[in-house]
Symmetry: C2
Subunit: 336 residues, 2 copies
């Protein structure tokens, strides 16, 4: 006889441990971000703040601050890189909205709908210029190589995506090539730069880079799954945005390949031809469920998450390391 004692429920992973460690630095980074969007040309702070204050999670700057902190960096160059990388990210979002002809972004009306495509292109350029200006200030060449390489690679990824747009026969490998460049490269750069600033050996830089790269891939895959309702495939706010824009993401790649000819015809009509009728979003979600496309996208994400965690193992135990490992869990668990 005996009583069944429930196992203590595992606390959901979050960003709190990390936030506790980096809070003062993150606040200084935010101040820097606000300062550096200032311009006599008032359109610039208006547009930039629309996006920057729209409640992004600041994941990329957090990675810079966290890896720098973990490696005992003492200067304040990490603030410049954290803010600069957020600027690079924001510039990408502005240009993305123009390229994707999106109407919404982060649950708010897209900047291009308020200020026009022209202003968004130019404010993106302004932020990119200021990103570099800020990151040059600490006077360290190696992290500058990393971020400028990232800028070129991200654009390459966006062009690849544009070329593959609406192509339902895209392979999983080709899709991975796109998201490594367009999303994961900046996560990789963010994590690597923090370690570089602290002047740690190459092996540590490579570990942080691998962590960031795989975390970025996992993050994007979960985003893709969330766009079709996540693991529950429940229809909520913003579900089906990718679908309506004809975006080919991993859930589509899997559902298309696993589908019947009739189902493939559905994907071609909706995503390639853009002919979307009432009920098509529901049908798409149904097909995802039928073929376990979301479950398997999440499983793939977990695979990359595991690689990210292993990459971190060479760092000695510390609250910083634990917090960075928890970021991986957070990025994946948000799907449930």
């Amino acid at each position: 006889m005996g009583i069944v004692i429930p196992l203590e429920e595992k606390k959901a992973a979050g960003l709190d441990s990390l936030l506790d460690l980096i809070r003062p630095d993150l606040e200084r980074t935010n101040q820097l971000i606000i300062q550096r969007t200032g311009s006599d040309v008032t359109t610039i702070p208006e547009v930039a703040n629309h996006l920057i204050s729209a409640g992004g999670k600041r994941l990329r700057p957090m990675l810079v601050l966290a890896t720098a902190g973990m490696c005992g960096y003492k200067g304040d160059g990490h603030l410049k890189f954290a803010a600069g990388i957020e600027f690079m990210h924001t510039a990408t979002l502005l240009h993305d909205d123009v390229v994707d002809e999106s109407n919404m972004r982060r649950g708010k009306i897209a900047a291009r709908m308020l200020w026009g495509n022209q202003t968004c292109v130019l404010v993106g350029d302004f932020l990119l210029g200021h990103a570099f200006k800020m990151m040059v200030e600490p006077g360290m060449i190696p992290p500058l190589s990393v971020v400028s390489q990232a800028a070129a690679v991200i654009a390459e990824g966006e062009i690849l995506q544009l070329n593959a747009a609406k192509d339902t026969t895209t392979t999983e490998d080709a899709y991975m090539g796109v998201i490594r460049r367009k999303t994961a490269e900046l996560f990789a750069a963010a994590a690597e730069v923090g370690v570089m600033l602290a002047g740690r050996p190459k092996a540590d830089e490579a570990a942080a880079r691998s962590y960031g790269m795989n975390l970025g891939v996992a993050f994007q895959l979960i985003d893709d799954a969330l766009d079709y309702g996540g693991s529950s495939a429940k229809l909520g706010k913003n579900v089906g945005d990718d679908f309506r824009e004809g975006k080919i993401t991993l859930p589509v790649v899997l559902a298309f390949r696993r589908g019947s000819e009739k189902e493939r015809e559905f994907w071609r009509r909706t995503l390639e031809k853009g002919e979307i009728a009432d009920g098509d979003v529901e049908t798409a979600c149904g097909l995802m469920k039928k073929h376990k496309a979301l479950d398997d996208t999440i499983e793939r994400a977990a695979h990359y998450g595991a690689i990210a965690r292993d990459a971190m193992e060479i760092f000695p135990a510390s609250p910083w390391k634990d917090a960075l490992l928890e970021v991986v869990d957070f990025c994946i668990e948000r799907v449930y």
Copy 2:
């Protein structure tokens, strides 16, 4: 009695003396440009080469090579900055075409008409990323500050121009604020960077910067005058492009201010409302002539050209210095 002996006609200023001095460096820069537009993503070299090989004068890279040469620079970092600055310029042109909705560029069909706005935005971003990647390679921080500052300032100038677009009441001062940022800043950076690489004193950097800034302003003003046929106000190929796009340039600012109320109505109808009828380009050119708007734009250009020349005076006599002074004459004399 006697024979009238004609004064020896002054040889027209050209870029030949400069080209003779920098030819090997310019060839290496061109090779670097072609190399660095390479990408597995084949759209990128296609679009980039469409513009880069369209026969730009390579004035900006020439300034880098020339000021570095004049100051006795011995490394090869100047090639990276020359190519990087040409990439920055090309990225600006690509984004400009999108922003201006232009159909033509450098006498060729605009890239956006062939590949679409989306690709042009992204290839511009790719070039900007690679520009920085290349310029980071020599490992020198101070010239990186200059070029990243320039990137931000150029975008600011473009936004200012967009805000002032179609406003016929733009003042000459406001217009100067736009062209200093959008055009002259990159000339200034190009000239300054060459001197910086050679490790010369601040006064020499400032002199080269002032030369480049004023040369850039003169260059843009002559471009503006050429768009209405230059000093002869003769209608030729591409005359009236700015007019048809509703661009406010110095000739317009002067003709509008000096014009009668009826004439101002003409400028408002054509440039602000964009209602352009047959014969309007001719009328515009006629008004320019009547009010000496082109002559005075050229005179203003000559004024800035004179400042550029004086800025150079602190450098000791050399064939390099002479060639750089001749660039000023070339930029102005091409109007005749």
